[in-house]
Symmetry: C4
Subunit: 201 residues, 4 copies
């Protein structure tokens, strides 16, 4: 199984999951006061935007990491499948979070569920990296050894940060959503991927 | 991140969004007078056709623009993601517009919502172009300087035209849908893309 | 716009439409006698299978035709988009036909609707071929002139045959579904594509 | 029709089917006790995970088999389409199994339906292999003759094992789901694909 094929399949799952998100936004129940209905729906739009950004930036970083691999093997493939399982699952908690916020009921529970899925996703990322980079198993020779340790620390710390998200969800669902939006923004410009991108040049 | 990969991912999102549109058409509620039900559904078919044409022509012009880029960078990637976010969102207002027209209630509100999403999409296109072409940041050397200014003007004017669509929506929902159909037809043959296509040869 | 890109986008729409079909099969309403519910659902499975075969074979023949083209141009692209619009729409009448047959109401109306969409699709195919082959506009030099006329006749006759399907639908919905299954089988082995495939070698 | 195109189309269907699975998980009906609702939903998550693993591993083995083919022909293409038909159908019984287990009604019937679809899928795999390998019709010269017989036996025996799954479903739905999870794990590391992968190197 070539690296290119695994990337193409992963790209497909990322693209489909990101585009399916729109189906999770609640439909208006009545049309006689549609303006108010659509405005009340705003948490669904916010959840859509945050998760869209999350998946889009993950897709980006997925390529950054694959760019440093010399090859893939069967265990890596299954870990990648596990990662994709958590990505493809994201529309489910996203829809529930949007709906719970709109109903004004169950919002914190929904935010906890959302954060748990994001945490499982972060663990899957860390597992993928630990496997690929451990003893430089799948890394390109061009990947500098000093970068490897830092990246591993940042991945493990990153996973811990997602657990904090679960705590925030217990306090306030909107804060939790904002937290995940901020994390996505962080991963768009963070030291791991910036370091990795720089090295790749 | 190579240009080719960003194009392939974008193509995926365009293809999925355009194909998901069919899921937004309302289902018949009763089967004892199905012919009448299906005829009453016609605004849903019209909304499907207009948005299908809009997304298809956008996909085309996305390639035309990418054909003039020498490379992509991280900010461009995030602007492209923002553009895709508005494209992938289109099935939502399309479905609501079709349903509102069928119910005969809330049609103008739905048309306003549809036009707002189209306007946000036009802004995302303009932002993408302004970033890529500003100081010829990402443009190919082969792209002629005199074409750059005209294209920018047309992109900015284009965004303004979409705001007119919001105004039309406030008056009549059907007129608004026809307006967006006409805009799609315009972009299929317009001076921007014709100019850009000519240059690329 | 290269031929390869148009093919890749079209492939994406075919693959998504064929896979979305499963979402149109009616869900069981009650679980206390699920076996009977699932058996009653059989027209939905039949409609799924027929339309799956139809789209799959269309995808195949799409490649056969593209294999004979030397290039694509803008009008061809829009005709191809029109074709994809009818393909991506197929899940809608498929779902309604399955549901109408299950409810035992509106089946002939649903079959007429299904046949109309199939006829529009056949017209889009014919238009695509007439444009591409007229005056050998986009054809490869290797495509033999004597094959061109025969293929055109078969495409036009083919479109007429779909109109017969509308007539059959008015008489019996099951016969109509069987008719479309038989047409798909025909197109899997028919003289047009066999001739075209032979020539391409 | 080149082998690469058939693989790309098949990859698309695998990627879409695996990502659509999430839409089959039941939505919470009420938000006032969302935590309990989401916990009650666990069979839906389990069914999601098992079917996701099944499709992911099938995708992997699809490539392993294609890697041993020298070419494809029309009958192979239609057998592959038949295989994809059973793959794309999987979200349907998966959703029903999850819902039936949650409702506590119809679970064994749903498990039988799930197992029947899996069995049809196994038959489609066996047919694909028997056609491609019979008289070495489509096999690469590099594929060793002694491997061919073993692989055929394992494919046929594999199909039989899926029939056992139908029997297990009649006794207990959870055991049936666990059985299919175990089979997926087996196919991730089984002698067929391990043998095939080894040979390909």
């Amino acid at each position: 199984m070539s690296k290119g094929r695994v990337e193409a399949f992963s790209d497909g799952v990322f693209a489909i999951a990101i585009t399916l998100l729109v189906l999770t936004i609640g439909q208006p129940q009545r049309f006689d006061d549609l303006a108010a209905e659509l405005v009340r729906q705003w948490p669904g739009y916010a959840a859509y935007m945050v998760t869209f950004a999350v998946i889009g930036i993950m897709w980006f970083n997925h390529h950054v990491i694959f760019g440093h691999l010399a090859r893939v093997d069967a265990p890596f493939l299954y870990l990648n499948l596990l990662l994709l399982m958590t990505v493809a699952f994201l529309p489910y908690p996203t829809g529930i979070l949007g709906e719970a916020l709109r109903h004004g009921e169950g919002a914190r529970v929904a935010a906890v569920a959302y954060s748990i899925v994001m945490t499982l996703n972060a663990f899957a990322w860390a597992a993928l990296w630990l496997y690929a980079s451990g003893r430089r198993r799948l890394l390109h020779d061009s990947f500098p050894e000093e970068q490897r340790g830092i990246t591993t620390v940042l991945f493990v710390v990153g996973s811990m940060v997602y657990i904090v998200g679960i705590g925030i969800a217990l306090i306030n669902a909107y804060a939790c959503l904002a937290f995940h939006g901020a994390l996505a923004a962080y991963y768009a410009v963070d030291p791991i991927s910036r370091g990795l991108r720089r090295e790749r040049r």
